[in-house]
Symmetry: C2
Subunit: 395 residues, 2 copies
């Protein structure tokens, strides 16, 4: 095993924050595998590249011999949001949660080592707390401390309702760290408050406190907002190779370098060399190849590159082109209507004539069905004839 | 059974607030016994006259045929205040709670009819809620609503800590009303917020909402602060007849009329007649007799009056005399030291000489032991010789 100092430097690489570094070093110096916790909400089984940032870091830890615990928050998942205000948190049945957990596991093991990962469910220790245990848990924190959380602070200041049960969720999550005797808890930078609760509760329970490692949040395909399923700006682990490849080829050059930093296994030096010596389009192909190979196979990645190059040559797609966002409130839009709105045809009947003649292309591939619906959450290059291109994003 | 309107007028008599009157009238008009809830904390088994105000009102309801439920809050009692900040709320064992409940019952039945009173324990329905049920209960209220409670509002404004579990207690109490299907909940005016939570939770559970009847808070012997055990300004149900009598004789005339209004069974007209025609000292003896007879017996009350009159004649105790509060931080004070501090002797040795000569009296009775400690929470008239009197209160 490599030295504690070297391990720490691997842990810190590309991390947003490591807290508390001296404590983590002391833990590492003991030379025993550390218990590394990552909590996951069982409501959204589709993992995307945003999740992979932290998972990749955990894989590195796993390869160094540390014990990875993938914790499914089924206790809170079974309750959901009883007020019904938060539609993304419907209560889930035991069966749904188990199904989601399985889907989760399948995807997680594209990055983590299946053999060396413990999957845990927090209902195991939260349910036995009982009504009285929940009250005792609630007694461990003051309102003032919880209201330091940005989300709560903001909503309180804006007179937005905060249900009392929402105050209990961070405590239940913190209690998970006590139950698991976690040495390290991982999360996005937006999770720092919740991870700190775990530290605090461990202290109250006379345990050694966990260290926190927060990883930067990955921007979505739009390059602005955090990648998330609800924003439709994501690339899912489970998407077809072609789809992942196409989406990655559609991002801006700036975002590509960000993705290189957070997603690629290439070293900083290798990325710097790419930036210096290689045309951005080729670097983008390289990134897309690496990601597709990870979630599918090298074979699938090679094929995606070949297909793309073929279409690219045929269409002679330019690097720069107009961009257009179409807001459909999630309903999607018909191809003829879209072509008209993108200014590639004066009317929908002209658009249909274009399709009949094989002159309308999506990502270089000819559109065949006039009734085709372009779904919300997709993005692609729409091409009329040889020279008119618009980069489209459907919302 | 008398009419709904007449019953309502009995309910309202001397009550601070009846909420909502029209709903209560509708309940009464159905002609069925109403379920009347009173919640009690199992931590303080010594009931005092302050509690009797609401209990007396409930006895009137009971005599009208309504169903009285005396609810012991053993669920929250078993938990206490886990933060340990509130020393009056230590967690209690099941055995302690049952013992306290029994002591409670013995005292409560000095006023309520034992045969017609249901005693309930809220652990019966709170424990089966489980950890998940407690979270669902917590989801029924928003933080903003709970923070309307004066106590919370004040502490928040003053940056005093509020533990999260304290937010759960009013919800558990409100849930008791749901479990009991209460028609009416009784309490002191300071309980209004908590009783309103019960109304709200019943509504959320599609139940008919309980009405509230709040009774005024009885001032303690000092005539200023609410009567409470912790303030030491109380008369307990379980105190000896002599003690109750003496304490009542020591209150001011103004407070005596307040006690007549809230504690006596005399009608408003009878009390008005006393005020007009009888010397205040004799009215005070009448009140003290009535109260002692209630908690002991008519025989004990007659004896207390006779003893008092004998001492009064012997000592010729005046109506007006200096008053003195001695602060001992609960430790009490030796009689000689007290006599000196009260200005009845120039030194403790002079005080001891006074005792030796039989010239020092407490409530007319000669002090015999020089080492006697006067306990905190007591009050009495200290008399030196025939003409020097000081009304003493030990704190």
């Amino acid at each position: 095993m490599i030295s504690a100092e070297e391990q720490l430097s691997i842990f810190k690489h590309r991390a947003d924050e490591v807290l508390v570094e001296s404590e983590l070093l002391a833990k590492l110096r003991r030379g025993k595998p550390l218990r590394v916790k990552l909590g996951a909400d069982p409501t959204a089984p589709d993992l995307h590249l945003g999740h992979s940032v932290v998972l990749t870091k955990m894989r590195e830890m796993q390869d160094l011999g540390h014990h990875i615990i993938f914790l499914i928050g089924d206790f809170t998942g079974m309750i959901g949001d009883p007020t019904g205000r938060n539609v993304t948190r419907p209560p889930l049945t035991r069966e749904q949660i188990l199904a989601n957990a399985q889907t989760y596991a399948q995807q997680v093991f594209k990055i983590l080592d299946r053999e060396k990962t413990e999957i845990a469910f927090n209902s195991t220790w939260c349910m036995p707390l009982g009504a009285d245990g929940m009250i005792k848990l609630a007694a461990t924190y003051t309102l003032a401390r919880l209201m330091e959380r940005d989300d709560f602070k903001k909503r309180w200041a804006e007179n937005q309702p905060i249900s009392i049960h929402e105050l209990l969720y961070p405590l239940a999550q913190g209690y998970d760290s006590v139950a698991l005797k976690a040495d390290i808890e991982m999360g996005g930078t937006d999770q720092k408050f919740n991870l700190m609760v775990g530290r605090e509760l461990q202290k109250q329970n006379n345990q050694e406190q966990q260290c926190l490692i927060t990883m930067p949040l990955l921007e979505g395909l739009d390059g602005v907002e955090k990648m998330s399923k609800s924003k439709g700006n994501f690339i899912g682990f489970a998407e077809p190779a072609q789809e992942i490849f196409g989406k990655l080829m559609s991002i801006s050059d700036e975002l590509m370098w960000r993705y290189y930093a957070l997603l690629s296994t290439k070293s900083d030096a290798e990325v710097a060399a790419l930036k210096q010596n290689v045309h951005p389009k080729d670097s983008k192909v390289g990134l897309a190849h690496e990601i597709v190979a990870r979630y599918h196979s090298k074979f699938a990645a090679d094929k995606a590159v070949a297909d793309f190059e073929a279409r690219f040559k045929q269409g002679a797609m330019p690097d720069e082109m107009p961009e257009l966002e179409i807001h459909t409130s999630g309903r999607g839009i018909g191809i003829a209507q879209l072509t008209k709105q993108a200014g590639l045809a004066p009317s929908t009947s002209e658009a249909n004539r274009l399709i009949d003649g094989g002159g309308l292309r999506i990502d270089g591939e000819a559109v065949r069905e006039k009734g085709q619906i372009c779904a919300a959450g997709t993005q692609f290059v729409l091409q009329a004839g040889k020279r008119k291109f618009v980069r489209i994003r459907i919302l």
